[in-house]
Symmetry: C2
Subunit: 417 residues, 2 copies
């Protein structure tokens, strides 16, 4: 119980806790003798919008999500470019806690609709980040982009057991809004949709209420809706070498316009939590390969104790079973493939069968899904005992371009130039 008490302030769900997290990031970097990374000092503060990479990828994962996928309804390249420029200008404002555009008496005559929808008036930036990605369907002759589709944006294979719903999968453009205040994240997506009226329409959108991964060592590991800590060994912003190797696309990967960008895979993973909740603690822990309370690898004591897949218990069997989730998903079982996960828990009401419609909206960034998400998921889809309790119902894959350098730049400029 002592540890539980001491972790309370750190769990990243109140401003007091988050202030400690912010301080922790500074401290960690001082310790590592590296330049300080961008961080918010409290959950109210903004993250920088401009930079080499888009924010919202290695940014310490905020608590709340609104993710949207748009279909482009115009077939004019110039319209699309203009929209991306307008969106970039709005995003630069929104992420700094400003309205999307002029509101009310200042700049907007009363006979015109406001250039901001108003529901975030008075709210701080709340750590909002907006991250854009382009789906494979955008790279067609409508926009003259047939030749620009990156090889790494290859369609995902059909995975065993998945039951994808097309209406909530794919899309031409995605925007991930993460913030510490859901009203701020919703406001941002809603205003991008408003600005895009006549050029894009909302294909699907997903709210997430609790982050299920840390993306910084300064953050405590959160829990998914199976009650387990999730993302203990996630790729984190402090892993500078691994980020270069495994997260950021480079010019030599074949699509120079993606240099400094990354590829995001989304999977809506429905959990049958009611069945899971009637499973014994021992079975739950064997399925994951970690204990539930501390998140320690089975046979070890603490969350961050290294995984030892060879260690055997008194019965001569490995502590971590051959088909345990942590073993199957581990880089050592997947050609050293890492993922930077920043998924969110969701509950979308009920399923009409007496159960909560609950689960994990999985989000993972990587340099090349063909070498990272695909082999890991193929292995999990075939062998993971968790499959008895989960079902993949939506899927998305998007190429997230490099960051916007300054006010003269815009989302996707390198693609359209």
């Amino acid at each position: 119980m002592g540890e539980r008490m001491s972790r309370r302030g750190l769990f990243g769900l109140g401003a007091a806790g988050a202030a400690v997290v912010g301080a922790g990031v500074v401290g960690a970097n001082a310790l590592l003798d590296e330049p300080p990374v961008a961080h918010a000092a409290s959950t109210s503060d903004p993250f920088p919008f401009y930079g080499e990479h888009q924010a919202g990828i290695v940014t310490p994962a905020q608590d709340r999500l609104h993710f949207v996928s748009f279909d482009v309804t115009t077939d004019k390249r110039a319209d699309l470019v203009e929209l991306l420029q307008e969106w970039t200008a709005a995003a630069a404002r929104l992420t700094q806690g400003k309205e999307a555009g002029a509101f009310g008496a200042v700049g907007v005559p009363p006979e015109a609709p406001p250039d901001d929808t108003g529901e975030a008036l008075g709210l701080p930036a709340s750590g909002l980040t907006l991250t854009i990605g382009f789906g494979a369907s955008l790279f067609d002759k409508r926009f003259g982009l047939e030749g620009k589709r990156p090889a790494a944006l290859a369609d995902l294979p059909k995975f065993p057991g998945e039951q994808l719903i097309p209406e909530i999968s794919g899309g031409d453009i995605c925007v991930q809004a993460c913030a510490h205040d859901p009203q701020v994240a919703v406001h941002a997506i809603r205003n991008l949709a408003r600005i895009g009226f006549g050029k894009v329409s909302v294909r699907w959108s997903q709210l997430g209420f609790g982050r299920t991964s840390s993306t910084s060592r300064a953050q405590a590991t959160p829990r998914n809706l199976m009650g387990f800590k999730d993302g203990t060994n996630n790729l984190k912003l402090e892993d500078a070498d691994l980020l270069q190797q495994q997260l950021w696309a480079a010019a030599q990967d074949g699509s120079a316009w993606m240099a400094g960008g990354s590829y995001v895979v989304t999977r809506k993973i429905r959990m049958t939590v009611e069945t899971w909740d009637r499973t014994s603690l021992a079975e739950q822990e064997q399925i994951f390969g970690r204990n539930k309370g501390e998140g320690a690898p089975l046979g070890k004591k603490a969350e961050f104790d290294p995984l030892d897949f060879a260690a055997k218990g008194p019965d001569g069997q490995p502590y971590i079973k051959v088909d345990a989730h942590v073993r199957l998903a581990h880089p050592s079982a997947n050609g050293n493939a890492h993922l930077l996960r920043r998924g969110y828990n969701f509950v979308d009401g009920s399923d009409g069968l007496g159960r909560l419609d609950a689960g994990l909206f999985f989000i993972a960034y990587q340099r090349d899904p063909r070498k990272q998400f695909v082999p890991v998921q193929l292995s999990l889809a075939k062998n993971d005992q968790l499959n008895e309790y989960i079902k993949h119902v939506s899927s998305g894959l998007f190429a997230c371009p490099p960051g916007v350098r300054d006010a003269g730049d815009y989302w996707g400029r390198t693609l359209f130039e």
Copy 2:
């Protein structure tokens, strides 16, 4: 802009802000020379579970909601009573930041499922309140309750324009979970569902991410998804006389078992925000009868300036139009009927037609819906210009019994004794 800056810390969305809110509650009461009301000093702290009234009604509205409606699947009265007792014991623990039951090695053998699902381990109480209500369908011969149905629990009339979906309306029992952390609210509802396995099943559930009303004068007024401040003139916990007259059921109302309880009406109100967002600022403000920036009545300057329905502008027309929302909903137009609203904004993905599925999950507590919600809503449904932009898609009405007095008491005891 000065006011906007000064409200930032108060907007109730971070622990720092909430600490100020907590202090504000104390301050307000000191000022009124009344005994201090129950309040949380920060967004992490618990509210008392035991008391004359259920918590979650006049409790200063927390930021997040998970509302659930259950169908009772057992037809045994004893099973139902036992479930209410088990739920009460769990609620007394959960609201104080404890697990629903024994977890893991302490008390639960590894071959049994844990008595808590685990996803809130390490999280503080987060101001969680759990509030139960009984729907009209519970008062039938299954449980020998035919004679106990309160007159005030009369079925709501069909309102003009409503398009109710039966699958997400009604239900035998509701539980409202409000907390500052959505993971804590979800965890509570999920564990009540788990405990109720075999006796109840989830009929529908609704998450809300942003409160749309204040229930205390110490709270800043939040905004709904139309971008307007909502609930400026809400019934508030400081209105002691009005609460007795208009919120709490009394023995002389006809159902002695409800004394100290209240009746809750829920309405899921879908907003076509895309259409709203293309409406001019002047029209939006005329529809509401307030300006959008400050929330001031039209013709006045500040949010809390009194409404003056007689005041006329230079054109000889009333500043607040005869069919403005604030005029139609005002107690003076409805036989002095007040409501204690504590609704939440929602976004449930998209609607398959290119739009966000967004709106307001309206929740209102009152002493007698026949005299309060029904006349107000009949007037609004007939005359409110807002109807062009909204649609009621679900409805619920529940009798919320009095509070649980102590550890020997349970939710609904007065009904079953």
